[in-house]
């Protein structure tokens, strides 16, 4: 992976825009624990290696289906959870960012002593979970979050006055009558007023509550606000009000937004750049216009096609995706989307798990399965109770029950006694490659080659 492709916004954003946040190979894995001893038996890979930058004054849209890790990513960026691997850098210069990229690309054991020290120094200065207390406070006040559910994110026992004024109090920005004046100013900015100061959250409508959340986020004049589905609980007419307000505030204060949403029409309207996630990985990123007009990844295409739009022709059929999102604890090899991809090729990384995924709906095929010996993700021996079951599976693997590209990727399905040996062509994970300036996608299909 080249440096440029990792950070497509280098070209997209004007050079004058200050870098606010840089994600480098961010991973968040949640352990699956089992048994009395709570032994870790697996990892749910919620976020699995995500890199992108956010600059001042821009809106980055993060889209994907539920369970793709977009909210977890938001929580890692805002410092609410610590990432398992990778890092989020704050307030870093372009030069330092490039240096970090270069250093982190070197495998750990190959780094020289000097390089190690350099990276540690950079991490300590900029990496959000290694900052010292003072720097961490500085980061916290510059990175605010507006949550999806304004019912749950406002304390029902506190007055609006307390909720919006609290950040100012905590950071010692204001007190006494000045605090009230500042709070009223904030409320006025979001379209509320001093008459709302002494009310409880339950006395407001959904839209007003979201405004209070926004006022609270604005209190300390942050550089970045993470908006986690800010309008998904709201009606369209109220959504329009909130989106207008967010845009207004961004223009006035040169705010950067990380806009997490599943609603493509909202993200198209709001975002400058879009990052599309699938199963914890970025599958495509680029400028909004490029993504919507020239989507490169089949998943982006499917997502765009599936979301209804007023300008659509009503007679055309909605193209649909087969299957469901695979379990993030056992993500597919290669391109993670290949199990549902309409244009999958033999090189997409078909593996042994796909046999089960694709055929588990077939009646009684795996009923006699007694043992599995997994050599690698691409090779395994499945032992059945009797030879007939093993033969049945082998026959199915050579039939039309599985997709043609999967059959092609299948190197071997040999039955020996009661055991069937299944081996697939191994495939590497698909890297993000640059498709156009500032537009990257992770797909084995290259449009230039077609």
């Amino acid at each position: 992976m080249t440096m440029e492709s990792e950070h497509p916004q280098d070209d997209a954003a004007a050079a004058s825009d200050k870098l606010i946040l840089s994600l480098h190979g961010l991973k968040k894995h949640f352990p699956i624990k089992e048994g009395a001893l709570q032994r870790v038996v697996g990892q749910v890979r919620a976020v699995d290696g995500v890199s992108f930058d956010i600059r001042s004054g821009e809106t980055v849209g993060l889209v994907g289906e539920s369970g793709c890790g977009k909210t977890t990513l938001g929580r890692c960026v805002s410092g609410l959870t610590d990432p398992s691997d990778g890092a989020v850098y704050f307030n870093i210069t372009e030069g330092d960012r490039d240096r970090v990229d270069a250093l982190r690309d070197i495998p750990d054991e190959q780094r020289s002593e000097q390089e190690r020290e350099e990276l540690a120094a950079l991490d300590e200065a900029h990496c959000i979970n290694q900052l010292n207390e003072q720097a961490r406070r500085h980061y916290r006040r510059n990175c605010q979050v507006v949550f999806q559910d304004a019912f749950a994110s406002l304390n029902p026992r506190h007055l609006v006055n307390d909720i919006v004024g609290r950040p100012l109090q905590v950071y010692g920005e204001a007190s006494g009558s000045e605090l009230t004046t500042r709070t009223v100013q904030l409320l006025e900015q979001v379209g509320l007023g001093s008459q709302h100061l002494y009310r409880y959250p339950h006395q407001f409508s959904g839209g007003q509550r979201q405004r209070i959340s926004i006022a609270r986020a604005l209190a300390l004049n942050p550089e970045l606000i993470i908006l986690d589905e800010p309008t998904s609980a709201l009606d369209v007419s109220v959504q329009a009000q909130i989106l207008n307000l967010l845009h207004e505030l961004q223009r006035e204060r040169n705010l950067a937004y990380l806009f997490i949403t599943h609603d493509l029409s909202v993200v198209r309207h709001m975002a400058d750049r879009i990052v599309v996630m699938y199963l914890g990985k970025v599958v495509e990123a680029g400028r909004t216009q490029d993504i919507f007009e020239r989507p490169q990844h089949p998943y982006t295409k499917a997502l765009l096609a599936a979301s209804p739009d007023l300008s659509d022709d009503t007679d055309t059929e909605i193209p649909t995706l087969e299957g469901t999102v695979p379990d993030p604890a056992h993500p597919p090899q290669g391109c993670r989307f290949h199990t549902r991809c309409p244009v999958a090729t033999p090189a997409c990384g078909w593996d042994v798990d796909d046999v089960v995924r694709g055929l588990e709906n077939q009646e009684n095929l795996f009923d006699g399965l007694s043992a599995v010996n997994r050599v690698s993700p691409f090779e395994a021996q499945l032992t059945f109770d009797n030879e007939a079951s093993a033969r049945a599976l082998a026959d199915t693997l050579h039939s039309n029950a599985i997709s043609a590209s999967m059959r092609e990727a299948l190197e071997e399905a040999v039955v020996r006694d009661r055991t069937i040996n299944i081996r697939f062509n191994p495939a590497e994970e698909v890297e993000l490659t640059e498709r156009a300036p500032g537009h990257i996608a992770a797909c084995v299909l290259d449009p230039a080659a077609r």
């Binding site: 329009a240 845009h247 207004e248 223009r251 599943h262 007023l310 659509d312 649909t320 588990e360 709906n361």
Partner: protein, 442 residues
């Protein structure tokens, strides 16, 4: 149901009306006064059509839908008036359900009115068809309609399915409840005879049996019959699940709801709702809890099944772009009233009511520049003891004095297109003037 009244009624418009809501009013008792949640809603649903009911949160669309099945809790709900006339259908005699001229290719015709045998009387509103006022019918009749003639798909399949029962037993319930005769027939159990076991089996099939009866059914000769019945019902359930394109239904039947994904659960809900081939399907935001890619497949499925069975669908949603895709007609609700009802194409090409216009303009789109979305200012009014005025006054860009003093009613503005707004029809005498679209500030 009677079959002699099953001949067609040629004077009707293309498809006969399955249900007609007239001036429905459902109010709620609250501490602050009476909330007029649904306040004079009228519309018709024709056989085989999809009627979209759109509106914002709290506009009364769900209450309207739930009133069909009398699922509004009372108290606090109050039936303040109006009626929902429902005309159950039976299989067309002429074509035996295959679809012919006389039944508009639906394969089903209305049952005849039992009081006047098709001549038309006050009970059937002169239609000669069996007509039930869903607000008035007895509880036992209502129970026999629910899930059989009128079915509902709920918004959140995770909550609507019983977590303690397997998928199979939840769907089987529908068959036991409404199709016990067919079940016994399929299981080759003779109910007409004097077999003492048959009565027990029938009672068990309809889930009416007591502990002692269930104990009796464990006696070997009866048990084998019971197993026959279970096998017959399992077949029916598997067929119902297979209809909704669930692969390997036999396996899914043994699973519990939590083992399935959201899309699969919604499919189970659909299978359950369509198990008895209802005349009217009420879909209350069936895809709100689902992802767009799954949503597309569920919509396609509902549409396909509806085409095949010619079921009338009342589709409730807040998503206008979705409604445009799947509905034949659209009714826009605001604050307990229908403000505009028309053909789907018409309403999206030529919206008349200022609220409909506002809703459409508020949808974010690529063409609008950022920060310039046409938001509808203000919030939905509280519906506690409302005064006679246009409910949209206060938020309407075209408002004049008249709007705050008089109540507009739905009136036709053209081909099957009705709007409740003074812009399109004369306000009553002594009003302060008539609003115009030109008064729009934007």
């Amino acid at each position: 149901m009677m079959s002699e009244g099953a001949e067609k009624n040629p004077s009707k418009s293309p498809a006969p009306v399955v249900a007609s809501v007239a001036d429905l009013q459902v109010h709620f008792q609250s501490k602050r006064g009476i909330v007029h949640a649904v306040d004079g809603v009228s519309f018709d649903i024709h056989d085989g059509e999809t009627l979209g009911l759109v509106g914002e949160t709290g506009c009364g669309k769900s209450v309207t839908a739930r009133s069909f099945l009398r699922l509004v809790p009372k108290p606090p709900g109050i039936d303040a008036g109006g009626s929902i006339l429902f005309r159950p259908r039976t299989t067309c005699d002429a074509c035996e359900g295959r679809g012919c001229e006389s039944c508009h290719q639906t394969g089903r015709v209305s049952a005849g009115c039992s009081a006047c045998s098709g001549k038309g009387c006050s009970e059937c509103v002169q239609s000669g068809e069996e007509t039930l006022d869903l607000m008035q019918v007895s509880n036992s009749r209502m129970r026999s309609l629910r899930g059989d003639r009128i079915a509902m798909i709920f918004q959140d399949p995770g909550k609507a399915l019983n977590p303690a029962l397997t998928i199979g037993s939840q769907i089987a319930e529908v068959f036991y409840q409404h199709r016990s005769a067919e079940v016994l027939d399929a299981a080759n159990v003779d109910v007409s005879g004097i077999d003492p076991g048959s009565l027990l089996l029938k009672r068990q099939a309809a889930q009416q049996s007591r502990t002692i009866e269930r104990t009796l059914l464990k006696i070997p000769p009866l048990r084998s019959r019971r197993n026959q019945i279970t096998a017959a019902v399992d077949d029916m359930v598997a067929d119902a699940l297979a209809e909704t394109q669930i692969a390997n239904p036999r396996k899914i039947m043994q699973r519990y709801p939590h083992e399935l994904s959201g899309g699969m659960r919604q499919r189970v809900m659909i299978a359950q709702a369509l198990a008895c081939n209802p005349d009217l399907l009420i879909a209350d935001e069936p895809t709100t809890a689902l992802d767009v890619t799954v949503q597309a497949r569920i919509l396609e499925l509902i549409h396909e099944l509806q085409q095949r069975r010619q079921t009338a669908v009342l589709y409730i949603s807040h998503d206008l772009s979705l409604v445009r895709r799947i509905c034949d007609r659209v009714a826009v609700m605001y604050a307990g009233r229908i403000v505009e009802i028309s053909d789907a194409d018409q309403i999206f090409q030529d919206p008349r009511h200022p609220y409909t216009r506002g809703l459409l303009a508020a949808l974010p789109s690529a063409t609008q520049s950022r920060g310039k979305l046409a938001a509808i200012e203000g919030t939905v009014p509280e519906l506690v003891d409302p005064t006679p005025s246009c409910r949209f006054s206060g938020r309407c860009p075209n408002e004049v004095e008249t709007c705050a003093r008089f109540d507009p009613h739905l009136q036709s503005v053209g081909d099957e297109h009705s709007v409740a707004c003074f812009i399109y029809h004369e306000p009553p005498e002594g009003s302060g003037g008539r609003p115009t679209l030109a008064a729009r500030s934007s």
